[in-house]
Symmetry: C2
Subunit: 368 residues, 2 copies
């Protein structure tokens, strides 16, 4: 009896996971975390109107969600002043990145990103056999000029940049990103991941231009809208590219409760403002806790803060392990020299109080 | 400016959808349906315990779901008496079928199914470039012997069968399916889609044997558990195959609210029994309505009933259009001679009262 015959590509791939979830770590340590500050989740939670809409939708979950996401796309179109045909809604940006890679990347195709940028994008590129080139960060910023230079050299199908960036939280102004968009070489598509955009200054995003077939912008309800577990992301791009998703996507993949929640969340601009203010205050508090411990932070345009532990990656890893041992879930960048930092999500006052307790203990243990 | 360069395969695919959703039809006709009986949804809804669990999970949706689906897999493992390592949980059977095709099918690879069987499986096979062979139904049954005969001839990577079947609602006894499993040729994997199993007689499913690397069984919370819009399906198979999903799946793709709902639904066996009884009564009522109109039904082991309209596919299509015009959402098989039927979901008494009103009008219009 012979088992299934995998594709050559899939046979060559490792079974992996881009991130180990906090629940996995909790099971390993035999205790819950006291503060969940590692996954850039929005601990301030969804709008009460979104919560209520999701609760109201529970009894009706016997129905499949609308595969066209018509109502949500219409609301997003009005919100962003673009036609609905330029919007694709999917099961989080992660799923949309997977679909996009499937649409464009076949074995051996070149792709450009930054060393240490979003690992789930890399997972999807590898999953379709793409050949990934990673350029270094410049300072703690992704480097648009270096990305474009690499693109001019290797003619990639995709160029990935997150603005604001994850894991460092830095961002470029709109003009810099617009210059990058204008410089995308023929035959390349710029993937502009704006998952954290709502937390950044108003001049961070260049204007949406859905006539440009060389850029797709990704947004999400997972971050500023506090709905990571609902899996609602969307892309904005040229109509032809957007329609391409219909060739391969899981048409009935959207959760009906999430559709209702996202629609209600989008309508609650007041709550969004309050969340952004809460996050800004939490970033300041994290900076203050860092300063209390003799550390500095990287200025953040997101809902997380990279704290510079002042030494190398091994030291930062020991600090991180110390925090985890103290019940604070955090993460850190993967690549030097950014891995001198640990990364903390903007938490509620009680989360950050726990962090303030844990950090000196973790630092002492790491130094000792 | 040149747009994105698609893969050769994706460039060759049409933008399509396996099914047009009822909301799309409602927008086209400018009115809601009075009875939603076309998508094999379980109109009796989720367990109140599942609803309550989903409502309780709404505020916590700021957290990503556990990418390991640990608790749900543990509960399913206990429920089915198999190890958790033999279970893969995903965003509905649709998503799992997509992952499975990606794992095994590359352009030109052969796949066998039945002509008129589940279109979403065909969509995924085409989406990865597979070469699909479809054998005819025998009577109104999928034909295991013909599927195995074709498999012996063309050595497909995948063989698909649904038991019970969709769209006809028929099923084979466990012994027939076990004989099919035993006859799967070397190098082929049998995809045994048991989405509707809970509605069938107790002797419909052969025992689970997770040592057999040549079969994967799919189950879902979309049908008997009344949670189609929550997107929770699972596969049961050999550990190596199950682990293969980790190479490519969207690890953080599961909705956190759905994870909570599925766990609660699985624990409410009493409600499941009640649903199954409600569905059985509704099937009888559909048969009675058909008989009142001089029509017969195909005996069903599912939550839907194929009504034989007694003439050809064109006539049945006219009957279907008449029902839709009267506000009853229904569907019909795609392939002759099964397309002599229309397919009605087991509805609540009020849904079926509406159907009983609409059917004679639709038949008169179709005949006239």
């Amino acid at each position: 009896m012979t088992g299934p015959r995998y594709t050559r590509l899939v046979a060559s791939l490792p079974a992996t996971v881009p991130f180990v979830g906090p629940e996995t770590q909790e099971r390993a340590r035999g205790a819950r975390f006291d503060a969940r500050l590692g996954a850039n989740e929005n601990v301030f939670g969804p709008s009460p109107r979104a919560s209520a809409a999701m609760q109201a939708a529970a009894d009706g979950v016997w129905q499949y969600g609308d595969p066209e996401n018509f109502d949500l796309k219409a609301a997003l179109a009005a919100h962003h002043h673009v036609p609905a045909e330029n919007i694709i809604v999917g099961e989080g940006i992660d799923a949309l990145l997977g679909y996009l890679c499937r649409m464009l990347v076949e074995p051996g195709d070149r792709v450009v990103t930054s060393a240490g940028a979003y690992p789930t994008f890399n997972f999807h590129v590898a999953g379709f056999g793409g050949d990934l080139t990673a350029v270094p960060y410049k300072g703690d910023f992704e480097d648009p000029l270096a990305l474009i230079k690499a693109a001019n050299e290797i003619a990639p199908k995709l160029i990935y940049i997150a603005n604001p960036d994850n894991p460092m939280g830095t961002c470029h102004p709109a003009a810099t990103i617009q210059a990058m968009i204008d410089a995308v070489p023929k035959g390349s598509l710029l993937v502009l991941d704006e998952a954290y955009l709502e937390f950044a200054a108003p001049d961070t995003a260049p204007p949406l231009d859905v006539t440009n077939a060389q850029v797709i912008r990704f947004r999400t309800f997972s971050k500023a809208y506090g709905m990571a577990g609902a899996r609602v992301g969307y892309g904005i791009g040229a109509a032809g590219l957007i329609d391409g998703f219909n060739k391969i996507r899981n048409h009935f993949g959207m959760n009906r409760i999430s559709q209702a929640g996202a629609l209600a969340a989008l309508a609650d601009g007041e709550y969004l403002k309050q969340t952004i203010a809460n996050v800004a205050a939490a970033r300041d508090r994290i900076a203050a806790i860092a300063a209390d411990n003799g550390l500095t932070v990287v200025p953040s345009s997101t809902n997380f803060v990279a704290i510079d532990c002042g030494r190398d990656g091994e030291f930062a890893k020991r600090v991180l392990d110390g925090l985890i041992a103290e019940g604070v879930f955090a993460r850190m960048p993967f690549v030097a020299p950014q891995n001198r930092c640990i990364r903390l999500t903007a938490g509620r006052p009680e989360d950050l109080a726990k962090f303030a307790e844990a950090l000196p203990l973790a630092l002492a243990r790491a130094a000792g």
